[in-house]
Amino acid sequence: MAAPLTLLLIVAVTIRAALFRSSLAELIAERVEVVSPITAWKRVVEGLALLDLGVSPYSGDVFHETPLIIYMFHFLVDYAEITFMLADVITAVALYMAVKEYNKQVFRKQKFALEADRYPMDSLELIRSPKEMYYVPLKVAMFYLLNPFTILSCVAKSTCGLNNAVLALFFLSTIKGNVLLSAIFLCLATYQSIYPITLCAPAMLYFMQRQYIPVNFHRVSFWWFIVQYLFMYLGSLFVLICLSFFLLGSWDYLPSVYGFILSVPDLTPNIGLFWYFFAEMFEHFRLFFLCVFQINVFFYTIPLSIKLKEHPVFLIFMQLAVISIFKSYPTVGDVALYLAFLPVWSHLHRFLRNIFLVSCVLLACSALFPVLWHLWIYAGSANSNFYYAITLLFNVAQILLVSDYFYAFLRREHHLTNGLYLKRKDGSEATLILK
């Protein structure tokens, strides 16, 4: 399996290198769908210039990345293209290894269950075979590396690619069962963009499942593990924040990075839901709706964790999707990360209901973004409503996609315990309806 992966990596890097050399790179780096005010490379360069002049990079309202990123690029600015390609490669390899390990676990678990005769006879066709699982890790890497969204994001040198790499490493260390590394990578991701904090829940659930700690509020071992994990997580967060402070010598970056993410002052259009609402809103409602919109990202953690406490890896996927839909400055790079997980759930295909509709809508929206942008900004014949309509449609499609996968996952689990061909009490065939 190493050979196809290497080939894939070579192809992916070649495509990126070719695009970096072409005239398209500049065009892509300007696209609002690809870069947000936080992740834009232009702004990082500006921050670097300020830093070189001995001015705080956060003076002015241009640079909003974290101090660590800017110090990293202080040394790597000449190798920026390689850095971003490397980040993509790391993400892909980490996802590849993680999914491979995860598949092994799934298979082992399935074997135990089979041996214990826990599955009803007629649901045997839902059992996953090693043959069909064999290519899944490679497909995941391929979905990430060859996804046009990832390529665009990498060519635009959006720092979102780095965040994705950290998240992928977090995923890998979690799957491998390394609690400390998992906490550290999660903390790095949180440090960069806040929202990954919601991934704490699936990570802890996963470790507890792995170490046979029951999820029970009355058990000491449960609380003890949570305290341990949070200690590592918060400890490294504390170290990072202090490190940033010592690097810069001021707390400027706190309002400029986290305040910027949470209070959404920059209303440049993007593929998210925030900009249009807050551009239209009366000022005195702003705080209230800001809270409503931001809570949206965090709130789903609770019901999802309760429902999926047996399946923390699927929960990670759901959380990543929710973050990339509801975060304040989403870009296509965020979307690409959770789309890479889709091959892992390829066994759910028979239960998906709207996949055709949703993929058509996503495809059409991706093509319409630049067209409507052109009509709005260059031709002047359309207006922001046209563009927002597409944004809205894009997000609705994403939500439908995610909820469709959620439903399919639950339905498969239901069939695994209750049998595939459900009968009503009177013996006629029953269908499941989601209400």
């Binding site: 069909e132 709207n354 055709f356 319409l368 052109h374 260059y378």
Partner: protein, 616 residues
């Protein structure tokens, strides 16, 4: 969400859609065409009305008196033009200075990628002369443009004369709140392009020009004047700009309102308005006018010197004087008064024209069809593609009766993937060749064949286009040796192609409705019916007939027919060749998008369907 989550109702809906797929598609197609034809029927259209409050009433008093003097200036200009053998720059500069304008010149030069045989030019050098009348009443942040081209021969002398006459008259008025720029541009659109790029500090097409020495404020609106006789019978309004962009409808309304007020006959597409909409001939007339607009818009080229302004957010139109054999004549003073009135109204603008429509079709100057009315016609055609795609999806998802084991399944998937990717890549490479090679290889072609450069470019394009037909269906022979009969392959390819076409046409129709609609009209039926199992020869013939190149050929004949200038096949063919060369030139000179769109996207998409027909 009932429909999305209730499996029974979904199943019923989907089975209905797949069972009745073909009839629904046919109905949709005819409904789309009928809807489109209905757009020209007057009761279904809206009357134009002025949306912009600042231009609301026509209560300005036009006093321009000096028509005769303007014509005399025009004759003087003609004499100097003949003497110099081109643009009489010094004379123009002196005359504009005498009239109290700040005068500047801009020189430009441009080598065309290949000689333009219609206008007989290859290496173009020229000078633009423009004078700025500074606004006495306001800070000079906004400007209006009046332009007249300096054309070869005896054309447009009166336009320049009237422009100078108006400059002199405007200079003495005190109410101007916007700078007015009087521009005489040489080599029509090339000069205009140089001037606009110079004015806005952009360079999109690699033309060389000297930077502008003087500027007004940001340009709010522009009119281009074409006038070749001392008296005219009617004024024609030209709206279609680059890439089918149209100015705000209020500009057309303004023109119409003043024509009504002053009593000048006005036309659009050279067609007078008629009042007998309820008769067959009246309806025919409206359809003709609208179809002319559709054809012109679809061509994506600027149909007057105003066409390039639109790219810079400047509302612009060309006004053409027509002198035909009608009794009723209008003199230059009246046209001067009309322009004075329009400029005074534009002078009142507080913000850019934006109140009225940007997307519209006009079956007559007093009626229009807005985007909300014409889009359903396109939507009905596009929905056919979606229905076909849904049908294919359902067919693909119905599992075959024999269950296969995992190995075969994976092989099959890889097989399908490969057999879909190959035609996709190859047809796009053909498209890239069609786009890039004709200009690249013109020298080689001229060396080896007895043709001129222009012919070489056009014939190379046609040759590549034809060669493309032979390419793709030979590509998937190599790996058909596999034991599994490939039933999914063409369906997957067709699904991809149909969705591709739907997205492509949708995007095109948003930017340029007419082009999108004409392409949909020919490509949609082809996309809907083609499978490997239809009779080969007949379908291949139909496919070729409906291909983009043939669509263009028919459009040329149809356009001539609409203009009441039918041509013989021989002339039509020559015209067709020149249209192709013009399309390529428009792309490299002004950045028109039609040629790359056809070559890089539409043609490869059509090749995919060609490929499906010859699937083995």
């Amino acid at each position: 969400m009932g429909l999305l989550s209730d499996p029974n109702r979904r199943r019923a809906l989907i089975s209905m859609l797949t069972r009745l797929n073909a009839p629904i598609c046919v109905v949709c197609y005819f409904a789309g065409v009928a809807w489109f034809m209905g757009l020209a029927f007057e009761p279904f259209t809206l009357r134009t009305y002025m949306s912009e409050n600042a231009m609301g009433s026509t209560m300005v008093e036009e006093r321009f008196p000096a028509g005769e003097r303007a014509l005399a200036t025009g004759r003087e200009f003609a004499a100097h033009k003949k003497k110099v053998g081109g643009m009489p720059v010094d004379w123009l500069v002196k005359n504009m200075q005498d009239r109290g304008l700040e005068v500047f010149t801009q020189s430009f030069s441009r080598t065309l990628p290949f000689p333009d045989e219609n206008k007989e030019r290859y290496i173009v050098k020229g000078t633009n002369v423009y004078g700025i009348l500074r606004a006495p009443r306001a800070p000079r942040t906004e400007a209006l443009v009046l332009s007249a081209p300096c054309s070869p021969g005896d054309n447009n002398n009166q336009a320049v004369g009237l422009l100078l006459g108006l400059a002199q008259y405007f200079r003495n008025q005190i109410y101007w709140a916007k700078d007015i720029i009087f521009l005489v541009n040489e080599h029509d659109l090339i000069g205009m392009q140089a001037w606009l790029e110079g004015y806005h500090h952009t360079n999109t097409t690699g033309m060389s020009w000297s930077p502008l020495q003087g500027r007004g404020g940001s340009i709010q609106a522009a009119l281009s004047l074409e006038l070749s006789s001392d008296v005219i019978t009617s004024l024609d309004l030209v709206l279609e700009g680059l890439n089918g962009q149209l100015p705000n409808l209020d500009l057309a309304n303004l023109f119409y309102a003043f024509c009504q007020k002053i009593g000048v006959l006005c036309t659009i597409q050279g067609k007078l308005q008629r009042n007998d909409w309820d008769s067959v001939s009246g309806y025919n007339h409206a359809v003709q006018t609208m179809m002319l607009m559709v054809m012109k818009q679809a061509s994506g080229r600027p149909w007057g010197d105003h066409g390039l302004f639109l790219r810079y957010h400047i509302e612009a139109a060309t006004i053409k004087g027509v002198n035909s054999f009608r009794q009723y004549k209008t003199d230059a003073t009246t046209i001067g008064r009309l322009l004075e009135g329009m400029y005074r109204k534009l002078n009142n603008l507080l913000e850019r024209l934006h109140q009225s429509y940007f997307f519209y079709l006009m079956p007559s100057l007093s009626h229009f069809v807005s985007i909300g009315y014409y889009m359903p016609a396109f939507g009905l055609l596009a929905v056919i593609l979606l229905l076909r795609a849904l049908d294919l999806w359902v067919q693909l998802n119905t599992p075959p009766s024999t269950t296969e084991d995992g190995v075969a399944d994976i092989d099959q998937v890889r097989h399908t993937l490969l057999s879909v990717l190959t035609p996709l890549v190859i047809s796009h490479l053909t498209g890239v060749a069609l786009y890039a090679l004709p200009i690249r290889f013109q020298e080689t072609a001229v060396e080896h064949f007895p043709v001129s450069e222009t012919e070489a470019v056009v014939l190379t394009a046609i040759a590549i286009y034809t060669a493309g037909l032979a390419l793709p269906h030979n590509t998937h022979r190599y790996y058909i040796v596999s034991t599994v009969p490939d039933v999914r392959g063409w369906r997957v390819l067709k699904l991809v192609a149909v969705l591709y076409l739907a997205v492509l046409l949708g995007c095109t129709a948003l930017i340029n409705f007419s082009l999108g609609f004409i392409l949909a009209l020919t490509l949609v039926p082809l996309a809907a019916f083609v499978t490997p199992h239809v009779p080969k020869v007949l379908s291949a013939f139909i496919l070729v007939i409906l291909s983009p190149a043939c669509t263009l050929l028919f459009s040329v004949f149809f356009f001539q027919e609409l203009q009441d200038m039918p041509v013989s096949f021989q002339d039509g063919w020559l015209l067709y060749l020149s249209v192709i060369s013009q399309g390529i030139l428009d792309h490299s000179l002004y950045g028109s998008l039609v040629y790359p769109l056809i070559a890089l996207l539409v043609y490869p998409c059509w090749l995919l369907f060609w490929n499906i027909l010859f699937w083995k």
